[in-house]
């Protein structure tokens, strides 16, 4: 579903060359949940922007659902870290979720149904007429997730979506995302700097090296599909995987 081949990104500005991504190659199968972790500054966001078609790579290719990405592809949604800045403050919650559907020319009844379902799925069915800035940070991010769900993407990219919310809300949102992913069967690429989060959420964890970024290790998370905050995090296998990712990230930092 998602294919990244020899991706390379060099920023060239004011005579200073910064090699953000050295050479990245990986795949994500349809319906899989892949987490990407790496030390800070390793170009995670750059990678995500290249996949989303928001940033042209210097070399290499990205394919989404078999088509080469040259601009934002259809059937791909992004949830940004800065929820406060990615929602339209002049639109109500319902209108925010509905806008991409309207832009796609969907009929009104179909739009309404999808919006209601999506808001229901994130537990915001009663808040549809509020403005985003009337909500807490966690709820705003739920709105952004609802917008992505209603869009019915085949590929969903998430860029450290829970980095700016408190720990309790974060745990809730993690479980929400697992539930949404299982229900929709969407291919999910989840970028984070949080090792626990990556292992808890993903079927696979791709660890990146420090810049110039390469894939340091690609790890299958062989935890059961039913996960919950208490038992999964208490599972000895979880601790093992977590330590392995941690060691790899430390190594990557040292090398960088």
């Amino acid at each position: 579903m998602l294919r990244v081949r020899g991706l390379r990104k060099v920023y060239d500005s004011h005579g200073r060359r910064v090699e953000a991504i050295g050479e990245l190659t990986f795949d994500a199968d349809a319906g899989s949940f892949v987490c990407v972790v790496g030390p800070s500054g390793c170009g995670k966001t750059t990678l995500l922007r290249c996949i989303a078609g928001l940033l042209p790579p210097t070399a290499g290719e990205v394919h989404v659902a078999g088509a080469r990405v040259t601009g934002p592809p259809a059937g791909l949604a992004v949830v940004f870290q800065e929820y406060g800045r990615s929602l339209f403050p002049w639109l109500r919650v319902r209108e925010n979720v509905e806008l991409p559907l309207r832009a796609a020319g969907m009929a009104r009844d179909a739009r309404r149904r999808l919006v209601a379902e999506a808001l229901d799925a994130v537990g915001l069915a009663d808040t549809d007429s509020a403005y985003p800035w009337q909500l807490s940070g966690g709820m705003q991010q739920r709105v952004a997730i609802a917008r992505a769900i209603a869009y019915q993407p085949r590929v969903l990219l998430m860029d450290e979506p829970f980095a700016a919310v408190d720990a309790q809300t974060r745990a809730d949102l993690e479980d929400l995302i697992r539930a949404v992913w299982r229900r929709l069967g969407v291919t999910l690429l989840f970028v984070t700097h949080d090792i626990d989060e990556a292992v808890y959420l993903g079927q696979r964890v791709i660890m990146l090296s420090a810049a110039p970024t390469r894939v340091a290790e690609d790890l299958d998370v062989d935890l059961p599909d039913e996960r919950d905050q208490l038992t999964t995090r208490g599972d000895p296998r979880f601790t093992e995987l977590r330590s392995r990712v941690y060691a790899q990230i430390q190594k990557a930092k040292g090398a960088g």
Binding site: R49, F80, P100, A103
Partner: protein
């Protein structure tokens, strides 16, 4: 006392006090140029409530409305185009700075040569003054579109007219409103000034006529009417702003609380 009543009292107190001071200070005035307020109010009723309202006040207001609306459309359209295009901005900036620096009343003699002495000239004077604050504020507003929001629009493939309206113009709306507010007071001034040259009707024309004919209380009443019109227009503007920018004031209040 409720909050609304207290606010109303606060708003009304100073104007009432000023009127009272004017009333009593001018009560026994025999100065020809400074008649008692009571006489001015009588003149107000006799002068403006009647055919003059239709012959002079309404044409003035119509020219103001047309000129202001024209400046609004032109300013937002040009400002959006300039704000979205870097080359256009680089090419136009020096010219815009020059044009903006020319005081609009100076244009009146030139516009008389081009457009004659009719309503067209007066509307053009109003447009030429109101345009700049709207245009320049729109450019700034359009340039200030949030990067994350722009990325959101791109990735959801919100393009063309949808993008222009939902992203660009709505983002710029607080600044556009600021420009429009400045333009409104400039427009009232230019409405009066444009009627002081080669005119045969209008508020500015009538006030000058009264002054030349030594109809002093009537002249004062015209000034009073202009002030009242200004207050009414600014109230109407606040009403519109409340509707258009309700989200913005809420957002700012929410940001302050956090």
């Amino acid at each position: 006392m409720t909050v609304a009543l207290r606010r109303l009292a606060l708003v009304v107190t100073l104007p009432a006090a000023l009127l009272a001071v004017w009333w009593f200070a001018s009560m026994n005035s025999t100065d020809f140029y400074r008649p008692p307020l009571s006489r001015i109010l009588v003149a107000f009723r006799e002068t403006w409530i009647g055919p003059r309202f239709v012959d002079d006040v309404l044409p003035s207001m119509a020219r103001l409305a047309i000129g202001y609306a024209g400046a609004l459309v032109l300013g937002v359209a040009l400002g959006t185009a300039i704000g979205l295009s870097r080359p256009l901005r680089a090419a136009l900036e020096p010219v815009l700075e020059f044009l903006r620096a020319v005081p609009p009343p100076v244009l009146v003699p030139i516009l008389i040569l081009i457009a004659g002495i009719g309503s067209t000239m007066k509307v053009l004077v109003i447009v030429s003054g109101c345009l700049w604050p709207i245009l320049l504020n729109t450019v700034e507003g359009v340039r200030g579109v949030d990067g994350v929001l722009a990325d959101t629009c791109r990735s959801y493939r919100i393009r063309g007219a949808g993008r222009l309206w939902h992203l660009v113009l709505r983002s710029a709306s607080p600044q556009i409103v600021t420009g429009a507010r400045q333009a409104l007071s400039i427009g009232i001034i230019l409405m009066v000034i444009s009627e002081m040259f080669a005119a045969s009707s209008g508020l500015g024309f009538t006030i000058v006529q009264f002054q030349r004919g030594f109809a002093i209380p009537e002249m004062w009443s015209g000034v009073l009417l202009l002030g009242l019109l200004g207050v009414l227009l600014s109230l109407a503007f606040r009403g519109v702003e409340h509707r258009v920018l309700g989200w913005y004031h809420g957002l700012r209040a929410a940001a302050r609380e956090r």
